[in-house]
Amino acid sequence: MLLNKWLKAVAFTLLCVTQQAVADLTIEITQGNDRATPVAVVPFAWLGQSALAEDVAQIVSDDLERSGLIKPLSRSDMLSLPSQKSDIYFRDWSLLKQDYLLIGQVKPSVSPGMLTIQFELYDVVRQTRVLGEVISGKPSELRSRAHYISDKVFEHLTGIAGAFSTRLAYVTVRKDASGQNKYELKVSDADGRREKSILTTYKPILSPAWSPDAEHLAYVSYETGRPAVFIQNVYSGKRRQLTAFKGLNGAPTWSPDGNKLAVVLSKDGNPELYQIDLTNYKMKRITNHYAIDTEPEWSPDGSKLLFTSSRSGGPQIYQLDLVSGETERLTFEGNYNARARYAPDGTEIYFVHQKEGIFHIAAQELANNRLRILTQTPLDESPSVSPNGSMLIYATQEGSRGYLGAVSVNGQIRYRLPSQRADVREPTWSPFLTN
């Protein structure tokens, strides 16, 4: 009886491995944390008939491992594969030095076409269940459900909200058969899987920015022959062109309430920040300086704007208080600091910082202006913070190929998402999904 269950679990694992789809982006963890919590994520038992398309436990295990804060046990080192409490021998998991054990079952639901997924997290030392839930979904939703489980487990173990159910948007470039550069705006899960192209053009695309509801992207496309700002719904594909002014139309970012877009226009002869009210399309100029003003970013409370300005010579980061109208220079270290993003709690900023010819991603605490360099590769740009504030995704280069790197805000954890086929750039991490 027991053996039968084990066999089922093993068979389930094998089926899932053979069915795994080829992903465009694959994760390579390059630096982890020595004090990561050991957690055994046991393959979930499948109690149905035909094989499932996704290996839920493997997705959870990969998610948790990518966080760097959790060290999942390799399946090949497990002594047994329990899927219910009565099959757990806590002593065995203690011998394997595991602090926690995640087990689960997937079975056909009573409502047709639906699956029931049950998962339980056990504290191995105390031999108690600390988390457990029964959720349901369609077979096609297993990946989303797995990320949901990762979010729950991660939050329980670290106290940090999980951001595994979020998305990435980025731009890929590759030469087509005729040697032309083909640009694509793509959206994927936070782990790089389920990649979808939402725009394909032979002219540059840049600066994608998520709306706060994570349903729209604003971006710059040159498809009309000139740069223009577009807004596109990532689900329906429906889009509108927002600006087509003479000169620059760039760097769109959304206000936290989603009602305004800050953009850069040079229609009056010089790059300045503008805000466009998306409810009535009223436009207001925000900066007025003969230098370059670009790359706006709204503070989490919407009361301030960060931007890059060359008003002191080279590019430096400034903060404009939208209430008082006062502008304050924030960066003083080095001669190139640009394209800043706020941490979700507003306590620090992340930006591109040049030191000795190397373009790093750097962080600066706003309370004491202390700067720390987070990345060491030479041409890093476009930092974007995960909505839980723990990781940054950024664009970097290796040889002539651009790829995406991720680093924790404390610099301790790193991984990369290289694309097998294309140059990847301009990553941006979505907010938490609202539904």
Binding site: M78, D92, K97, V125
Partner: protein, 144 residues
């Protein structure tokens, strides 16, 4: 003063450097007396009687127990398998999984007093190759 400084003579180290010995023996062997009840569960084995150090079992560092039955068969006391004999190859595989995660794990051999010497030696060799570095033999306190 031209850079000369009085240098204290180095203290002589009186301890034996243990590491090379372990290297030579590969396995540190200690004989323990069974005191904790956890060690007396499982397959019935008549332990040899000997006076030796009592063994403390802490919750954080549970030992892995391998019993050797009178027949010379091995029993790895894991999960539900408290009676089932295990082949040396499977034993090696399972112990290897544990030592990879828990390199300092104490492996205790609970051998029947009537077991052939060869069976115990073979077991020690298997355990050692599976990465066990800390192996102990269990005995029973002599009856008073």
């Amino acid at each position: 003063m031209s850079g000369y400084r009085y240098r204290k003579p180095k203290k002589l180290v009186a301890e034996i450097n243990v590491v090379p010995y372990i290297d030579v023996m590969l396995v540190l062997l200690v004989i323990f007396m069974v005191t904790a009840p956890v060690l007396t569960q499982g397959v019935k084995v008549e332990l040899p009687e000997a006076v030796s150090a009592p063994l403390d079992v802490s919750e954080d560092d549970l030992p892995l127990i391998v019993a050797v039955k009178k027949s010379g068969e091995y029993v790895l006391e894991l999960g539900p398998d408290k009676e089932q004999a295990i082949k040396p190859a499977d034993l090696s595989l399972k112990v290897g999984k544990i030592t990879r995660q828990n390199p300092g794990v104490q492996v205790l051999v609970r051998g029947d007093k009537n077991v052939e010497y060869g069976a115990v030696v073979q077991l020690m060799s298997v355990l050692q190759q599976a990465g066990a570095r800390n192996i102990g033999l269990l005995s029973q306190p002599p009856e008073k």
